[in-house]
């Protein structure tokens, strides 16, 4: 069931990390392939955020190896890591928007600061506007993050994550703390970002539903609509893969049919919701 085709975009090999002797990750291994959608489930404190930060090289493992786009980033110096990070989009759980900068400056930040992406301010402006139009917030350019609602801030975070069109985007709990309607809007945007550029996407979430939406639907760039993803028409497309984390370990990995058939009570708990 796990797709064998496609290049590896993000691979963990037996990665462990402990904070003061308490393990946050314990022997985590997985492989996300090009074009894949990976849904990462797990209760609070199971190590999901730590895993994402490690993929960006923000945290270094105590042992094991991390490969991004096939390159071993485990021992890379910070300066080289910046070049890897330029190709990864990230939405942080706490938003991570710079609250002293306007929305426009926030979204422009990667374009003006990533060494590999750096472009003049005049060229950044239209791309920032395009990214904000994508999340339907083009009217908030001059506002500060504190003036927006939680859902709007999440959307700005998505705009900032995708403004440089990175081939890999990581979303940390994009729907946490949002009402169901706003959560739906956010998932639709993530789906749209995924299917416009065929981006490899990793989503951390508590809500199994977010995963099934990402699995069942796709954005059709031609019609501009979401539609049921008829997988049999595009057998080459990698499937959506679910991973479940518990206390720093990946305790389940598989497709939708498998996770729904799984009898492990911890895994089943997520599916029921």
């Amino acid at each position: 069931m796990l797709p064998g085709a496609g290049r590896s975009v993000l691979r963990f090999e037996n990665v462990s990390l402990a904070f003061d002797e308490t393990p946050a990750l314990a022997g985590v291994s997985f492989d996300v392939r090009e074009g894949e959608t990976r849904i990462l489930l797990g209760s609070a404190g199971s190590g999901k955020t730590v895993l994402l930060k490690m993929a960006l090289g923000l945290l270094r493992p105590d042992s094991g190896r991390v490969f991004v786009f096939g390159e071993d980033i485990t021992g890379l110096p910070e300066a080289r890591l910046f070049d890897i990070r330029a190709r990864i989009g990230i939405l942080f759980q706490e938003g991570g928007l710079f609250d002293s900068l306007t929305i426009e400056e926030n979204v422009a930040y990667p374009l003006l600061n990533q060494r590999l992406l750096r472009i003049p301010v005049s060229e950044a402006a239209p791309r920032v506007e395009e990214a904000l139009r994508f999340v339907e917030l083009e009217h908030t350019l001059e506002k500060l993050p504190s003036e927006l609602s939680g859902g709007m801030r999440r959307r700005v975070g998505i705009a900032r994550a995708v403004v440089s069109r990175p081939p890999l985007v990581l979303y940390d709990s994009p729907t946490a703390g949002l009402d169901p309607i706003t959560a739906h809007t956010i998932v639709s945007l993530i789906m749209k970002a995924r299917d416009l550029e065929n981006t490899t996407t990793l989503i951390v979430t508590h809500r199994y539903q977010d995963g099934t939406w990402m699995h069942d639907f796709r954005y059709n760039p031609k019609s501009g609509q979401l539609e049921a993803d008829r997988r049999e028409l595009r057998p080459e497309k990698p499937a959506t893969v679910f991973s479940v984390m518990r206390e720093g370990r990946v305790v389940f990995e598989g497709g939708r049919a498998e996770i729904e058939a799984c009898t492990d009570p911890y895994v089943a708990k997520f599916v029921k919701h």
């Binding site: 930060k53 923000l58 910070e78 910046f82 990864i88 942080f92 938003g95 991570g96 928007l97 900032r160």
Partner: protein, 251 residues
């Protein structure tokens, strides 16, 4: 026993690494001039009122105390001299640095701490900037530049405070007070009086940033970092003051 020592040792190690990075960062690119000027404004102009008030009143209080003590030896005329020397050597640098530590070490710890817990510091690294270069270096440069200047202001206002007492209560002539005050300052005093705030600036900025950057545990953590930054910075100012003074004063 070892476990009790582990946390403080780790913290000191982190502090030293941060200090080394920040000091090297001063000579490195990219340079964030706008942030540096903004910090100079925040620390310099922002602290001016409290520095003026503490300087003036500590000078006035000293003049009162000294004149009382000196009158026993019939040396009230030495008041201006004593006030000035104590201010330039000790009170100016230490009081100013303590005030700025209370205002700005805490400010830096809470600002960087909130950025840490809302993942803005992670976001910075993820989006291509080095937080030490962008946040710590500008604060360090600004504090090192501004603190000696604030100290000079405090020294001068202290002398003015001393003068007000000498003139109104001790009936000293302005010429006499200011002449004896100026003439009492030697090069050694001036040097000591400027090197101290410069050295304390490293403590004020680096301790504030250190506690900010290592903040953990949400909003509560920010509160803890803020308090710790002020306490630790103040204590280290006194300790460092002792060693610098020991170096200048050969008994």
């Amino acid at each position: 026993m070892l476990d009790i020592l582990k946390a403080p040792i780790l913290s000191v190690q982190e502090f030293l690494i941060l200090s080394a990075k920040a000091i090297l960062g001063v000579f490195r690119r990219p340079r964030y001039h706008n942030d540096t000027f903004l910090q100079m404004d925040v620390i310099g102009f922002g602290s001016l009122p409290i520095v003026i008030l503490t300087g003036f009143f500590s000078g006035a209080v000293m003049a009162l105390q000294m004149s009382k003590a000196l009158s026993q030896y019939g040396a009230v005329g030495k008041t201006g001299e004593l006030v000035t020397i104590s201010l330039v050597r000790e009170l100016g640098p230490v009081l100013t640095s303590l005030m700025v530590a209370g205002r700005n070490s805490s400010g830096m710890a809470s600002e960087l701490g909130s950025m840490k817990v809302t993942e803005q510091i992670d976001a910075m690294r993820a989006l291509g900037t080095d937080p030490v270069q962008k946040l710590v270096v500008p604060r360090l440069i600004a504090t090192c530049f501004v603190l000696p200047l604030l100290t000079v202001v405090a020294d001068f206002l202290g002398m003015l405070g001393g003068f007000v007492i000498a003139y109104t209560l001790l009936q000293m002539s302005p010429d006499f007070y200011w002449n004896s005050a100026w003439q009492s300052i030697g090069y050694n005093d001036m040097f000591q009086g400027l090197i101290k705030p410069f050295a304390f600036a490293f403590i004020v900025a680096l301790v504030g940033c250190h506690y900010g950057i290592r903040t953990a545990g949400g909003t509560q953590g920010v509160g803890r970092s803020t308090t710790r930054a002020v306490v630790v910075a103040s204590v280290w100012i006194f300790i460092l003051d002792f060693f610098i003074t020991r170096f200048f004063v050969n008994v």
